[in-house]
Amino acid sequence: MWRRCLLTGMLVWLAATPASAFVAYVSNEKGNTVTVIDTDSWTVTKTIKVGQRPRGIEFSRDGKFVMVAVGDDDTIQVIDTKTQEIVDTLPSGPDPELFTQDAAGKTMYVANENDNTVTVIDLEKRARLGDIQVGVEPEGMTISPDGKILINTSETTNMAHFIDTTTRQIVANVLVDSRPRFAQFKRDGSELWVSSEIGGTVSIIDPVKREVTGKITFEIPGLRNEAIQPVGIGMTKDGKTAFVALGPANRVAVVDGATHKVLKYLLVGQRVWHMDFTPDEKYLMVTNGVSNDVSVIDVAAQKVIKTIQVGELPWGITIAQP
């Protein structure tokens, strides 16, 4: 019995292995490095030296580059995924933190914490197209699935700003709980989720009515309420399951995408912030700032299966095919 189990397990493992050959890039805020992880072997294959205070990190839409915001150098660096070396920089405006791109990968929107602005960049021309004035300390950035609305959250103003991507004008402001950090649409555009780090909640916003229609709260027995600080959000493409990183609570909450009920809490490393799925959605990787590692979550099993040491204070993560 035991042997059969083991054998079956190994077969499953063998079958699963080739499908997960992706590359993850992790920005290490204090280390001034980007760690490259092979998701086949779950090992670190390279550490790239980047500028000062790397945080927001994302693949270009064509998968050829990884862009990383290096806030203290007031720029965004571009890493060539073939050579895994820095090849270019983008004119981001002061202290870039998080950014997002349109579906075509032509326009980038950057939150500049120091300036209360969102900077618009033409990715092909590497040119700054303009700035949009938003609330105090802009942070979270995302674009609606139809590409029409850009969302920016401002941490001290406590709002999700709805910005028309054509006119670049703010068309609505939705008040959420304290220190909104991250925004994420459902793929079908039916809901916008915004995490509030200090408020301790995730607001569910109706993108049509542009108002908060629900709030997810978190309770972990034995843990003081103030330690629950939601930051990163990951949602499966079908919108059925969401994961919310709870910062110093050292846990990732698994949330039912339809009912918004918390299903379970997964214990990860210390001060968990951002996350990304492998493109096949089999795995979710989360960055644990204080323990300097990345936890790998098996999405279907909803279990942590692996921890990988990375650089100092891992912050953001992006994953795509090699």
Partner: protein, 393 residues
């Protein structure tokens, strides 16, 4: 022709009014006291706008948010001299403002609170750290943004105990507020299991804080003053009057660290604090004021932001609604301390982590790990609900 012009102007006024309603105005007063205290260290000498500068930044931040909610915040600044009738000045200020941020000594603050008691004006104490204002002398119309002496002493005490520096040599100045700080430090020692091995008093015999050949003399005085002490781990100094504490580091007879009013100092804010997004407010502050942000600046910022936060949450210019929200259970504020700050409902004191800074770096932030509490770990700092003498009225 002329009549036609007037008609057009009138019409355009009507149209403008209909398109954008006038913003809701929220008037905040700032009542500070004139006269700057003299510090031993030249670089710690407070600026003339200490405190007010923080409130001004918060007004800017509130107005950035306010432009999305059609709210506009104003700041009305007044400084009183010792010879002024503070109650009268405050009453005038309350005629123009629904909220007043105060940086006043305890007795003056109580005079103001009692003078404005029936007006509905909410006071936000940004400057006074006296425990009695939150205990036997507490008032229902005063919210305390500044931490108390006991919160500061507990924050330091937790760290020293965590560090296993449990034997303290306590040196106290001869002024009243030095003695109050020493009381708070003794209380912290008892609560957290430290032992005060000996106490000494440093008499203020007068004299200038700055002289041209001061160092020579101090270098002789301080070792002598601290010699023949029983075995101790850390010298804890209570010197709010700025008479001697900053002379102690590196000059004690035994090679020991100094904490309290010099060396490792508990404080609500430090210009070196950069965690939890604090770099952003530090940068905004320097840009606006051309100097670095002090604890009093931060306390005043938090006070003005408290009003801004409650105004945006209630979406109301009605101070009764705003004050009810502030006193309710849903109020919390983010202030770059890594956790939400809330009010203790029994005495309206803002719960807050306390930084421990050495003048160059933030060494630690209390509450320390392992100091547990059934409600909030922030309530391990200062006087807790079961011990309070406050009856809000």
């Amino acid at each position: 022709m002329f009549r036609w012009l007037i008609g057009t102007i009138a019409l355009s006024m009507v149209v403008t009014g209909a398109l954008a309603a006038d913003p809701v105005e929220i008037h905040i007063g700032y009542l500070g006291h004139a006269g700057i205290k003299s510090t031993l260290s030249l670089i710690q000498q407070p600026a003339d706008n200490d405190g007010i500068a923080g409130a001004r930044l918060a007004i800017e931040d509130n107005n950035t948010t306010g432009k999305f909610l059609n709210q506009r915040f104003t700041l009305d600044e007044i400084k009183v001299k010792d010879s002024d009738d503070v109650a009268k000045v405050a009453t005038d200020l309350a005629g123009r403002n629904d909220y007043i941020i105060t940086d006043l000594p305890a007795d003056a603050l109580l005079k103001v609170a009692d003078a404005l008691r029936d007006r509905g004006t909410m006071l936000l104490n940004a400057g006074a750290i006296d425990d009695r204002l939150r205990e036997q002398d507490c008032r229902a119309n005063v919210i305390h943004i500044a931490p108390t002496r006991s919160m500061l002493a507990d924050a330091l005490g937790q760290y020293l105990v965590w560090k296993q520096w449990k034997r303290w040599l306590l040196v106290t100045g001869s002024h009243d507020q030095d003695k109050l700080y020493a009381d708070a430090l003794r209380r912290a020692a008892t609560r957290f299991g430290a032992k005060i091995v000996q106490e000494r008093t440093f008499e203020d015999t007068g004299g200038a804080r700055r002289t041209d050949s001061g160092v020579t003399l101090i270098q002789r005085q301080m070792p002598v003053f601290t010699q023949q002490a029983p075995a101790y781990d850390v010298l804890v100094a209570a010197d709010e009057s700025e008479v001697f504490a900053n002379y102690l580091p590196y000059r004690t007879w035994d090679p020991r660290p100094v904490a309290g009013s010099a060396g490792l100092v508990p404080t609500s804010w430090d210009a070196a604090h950069d965690q939890w997004g604090a770099v952003q407010i530090q940068n905004r502050f320097v840009k606006l004021n051309m100097r670095r942000m002090t604890a009093l600046d931060m306390q005043a910022w938090t006070a003005a932001r408290t009003i801004g936060e409650a105004t945006s949450r209630t979406n109301s210019g009605d101070p009764r609604k705003v004050i009810a929200f502030l006193k309710g259970k849903d109020f919390s504020i983010a202030a770059f301390k890594g956790t939400r700050l809330t009010l203790r409902d029994w005495n309206l004191q803002l719960r807050q982590p306390i930084l421990l800074a050495d003048g160059r770096m933030v060494v630690s932030v209390s509450p320390q790990e392992g100091f547990l509490h059934q409600v909030s770990e922030l309530d391990t700092l200062g006087v807790d609900r079961p011990e309070t003498k406050c009856k809000l009225q």
